[in-house]
Subunit: 362 residues, 2 copies
């Protein structure tokens, strides 16, 4: 039996399927790579923990040289502070009484920076700063092409910067961007216009935080970038393979799953459905994951606990009882829904972790 087969048998026997299996050797290589790419251009590495949600993996990132971490939700930040993070950027608009009270508490435990893209959020953040009795650093989220959150024009960024600079308890730390992979020119123009207009009024800032795993390959293209936030690069997935960032060998997390039924001759059923692999199709990828043992099989559709395979293109078809490994299209929601990681090195099981920030929706 090969080492891979033997490990699969052991995981099926001792842990059961489906299981999220993380190869720590690959994780370490991936962490080192992101760190090296940032250091090569003198940009601080501030990995986004939304991908792994794990205090253990966060600690590995910090040990490898990360300056701090990025969180999307306050609840993630609270968990990571408890796990030892002391420098946290929450790259998300926070609003409301309940969140401001929690933010003020978090500010006692860690250095916190928060994003904002509108005046209401800024006024709320001022309340948290007042409760905490210390200044809060704010970055303006700027939309330079992705059309999600963020001010859309330099004029809006400038107006918001004035408000932040004039608000007691808040400091203007800088700008946060998340450019599309071809968005460096647009972003550079946006940032330059904001910087110039504010400088004329005596308002300056240091931070230019950018993000995204594929953008790790574009580092150096943003003028004045001070830090980078990448999440997926710690595990990689089928989308990162499609983006040209990763190969199969760089995918640290695979879902071990058992073929529990064959249905018709051209159909197979995995015990991992949409409640495990999630329905994120990921750009134009065909099917919902790559099966390492049967790459020509298509994870064609899902029921909640069924991954329904189209085997029509397979010469070699899986049998009932066979354990296979799947690289998901998008790894982040998979970890969020499952939460239990099985750690391996090579062909040895090292342990498991229930990731503490799983499903932190607030």
């Amino acid at each position: 039996m090969s080492a891979a087969s033997s490990l699969k048998a052991q995981i099926a026997r001792e842990i059961g399927t489906p299981a999220l299996v993380v190869d720590l050797d690959v994780v370490e290589r991936n962490i080192a790579r992101a760190q090296r790419l940032c250091e090569a251009v003198g940009v601080a590495n501030r990995p986004h923990i939304k991908t792994h949600k794990s205090t253990r993996l966060m600690q590995m990132q910090l040990a490898a040289g990360a300056k701090g971490i990025t969180c999307q939700k306050l609840g993630e930040a609270e968990v990571m502070a408890e796990g030892g993070a002391t420098d946290i950027f929450i790259s998300y608009n926070l609003l409301g009484e309940e969140k401001m009270a929690r933010l003020a508490r978090l500010m006692q435990e860690a250095e916190v920076i928060v994003a904002a893209d509108n005046p209401l959020v800024v006024s709320e953040l001022a309340k948290a700063a007042a409760m905490a009795g210390r200044d809060l650093a704010v970055r303006i989220e700027c939309d330079t092409g992705r059309k999600r959150a963020g001010v859309e024009t330099p004029a809006e960024a400038i107006a918001l910067a004035r408000i932040i600079a004039a608000t007691p308890g808040l400091t203007l730390a800088g700008l946060m961007v998340y450019p599309p992979e071809d968005g460096a020119d647009v972003t550079n123009a946006f940032v330059a216009e904001v910087r110039k207009a504010l400088a004329a009024e005596g308002i300056t800032f240091d931070d230019l935080s950018s993000g995204g795993t594929p953008n790790l390959l574009n580092l150096g293209s943003l003028k004045g970038q001070t830090e980078h936030r990448a999440g997926t690069s710690i595990f990689n997935d089928r989308m990162m393979m499609a983006a040209g960032f990763a190969s199969v060998e760089d995918c640290a997390l695979t879902v071990y799953t058992t073929v529990v039924s064959r249905g018709g001759p051209e159909r197979g059923i995995l015990d991992a459905g949409s409640k495990t692999l999630t329905t994120e199709t990921g750009w134009d990828l065909k099917g919902h994951g790559l099966i390492l043992e049967h790459p020509e099989a298509v994870v064609a559709r899902f029921a909640e606990e069924h991954g329904i395979l189209d085997l029509s293109r397979c010469n070699h078809r899986p049998v009932v009882g066979e354990v296979v490994r799947v690289i998901p299209n998008h790894i982040c929601p998979v970890v969020n829904v499952v939460g239990e990681l099985v750690y391996i090195r090579g062909d040895a099981i090292i342990g498991t972790e229930d990731v503490a920030a799983r499903g932190k929706l607030r």
Copy 2:
């Protein structure tokens, strides 16, 4: 302020958004409706707990007259047995040493019936029965049109029934089907053929278990149906509205979420993204949910923590800070990923529950 506005303010203040808010009055009405529909045709009600994953709500279903429950995963069944379930059907192929040991333990705590659609699963189940030292009831899963798991032909069902009947420790309890909404004729013919062929050999069975919330409206169309498994009917969702099973007033669970950014003039951002509402688009529904306060707004796309709204068709557009209620397209994966339910009655908060079977993938 209206009662709805006042409750929204209270939830935002005390619990925060996003939050999964369940109106227990509506839940009780929905539970009673499914029970009544089953009783009207003399079919046992065996609700599927995969939707709510909650021991509290399971207990309400049993108190309303449900004969037992249905689970899709062994881990769900374990949690429900701990919560008081004594009659459990696991409507899923179980395989492997680790699962058989757990199944044998579960058989000490509850009456258990398990599905199977192939000989390997049957031989595994026999091991569990031997370990438990008692007989295990098995139902043959039959595919009568949905093309997921299940034997595809009466001949396969007959062959598998012979194996089960001949296997020490197993009893052939009957058949399990999950027909498409227009699948009664095909299913009746399938079942009749199996029943007749087996009777000629002296093999008989009692159970014909069917399922699905929309099929609650077709009860009576399957000859010899003994029980029904419906999951979604306890909460309902946008898909059940599209199926003609439910109206807005029948949707017991809404996601309370805050508009945290407006982006461009025709764009809004909810603090509930794909990690809360999930990407299940649900048939051909437009957008990822129905916003009660802005039904003409489209939840057009997601980032993980952003619900990105297309407001181009809205005369009245939401403002930053506004709390809105969203009926998700498909409620089951939402509860599975979030797991915390906030219970209300009318406009009063009753309490919260971390549903114990959330994310039970094994």
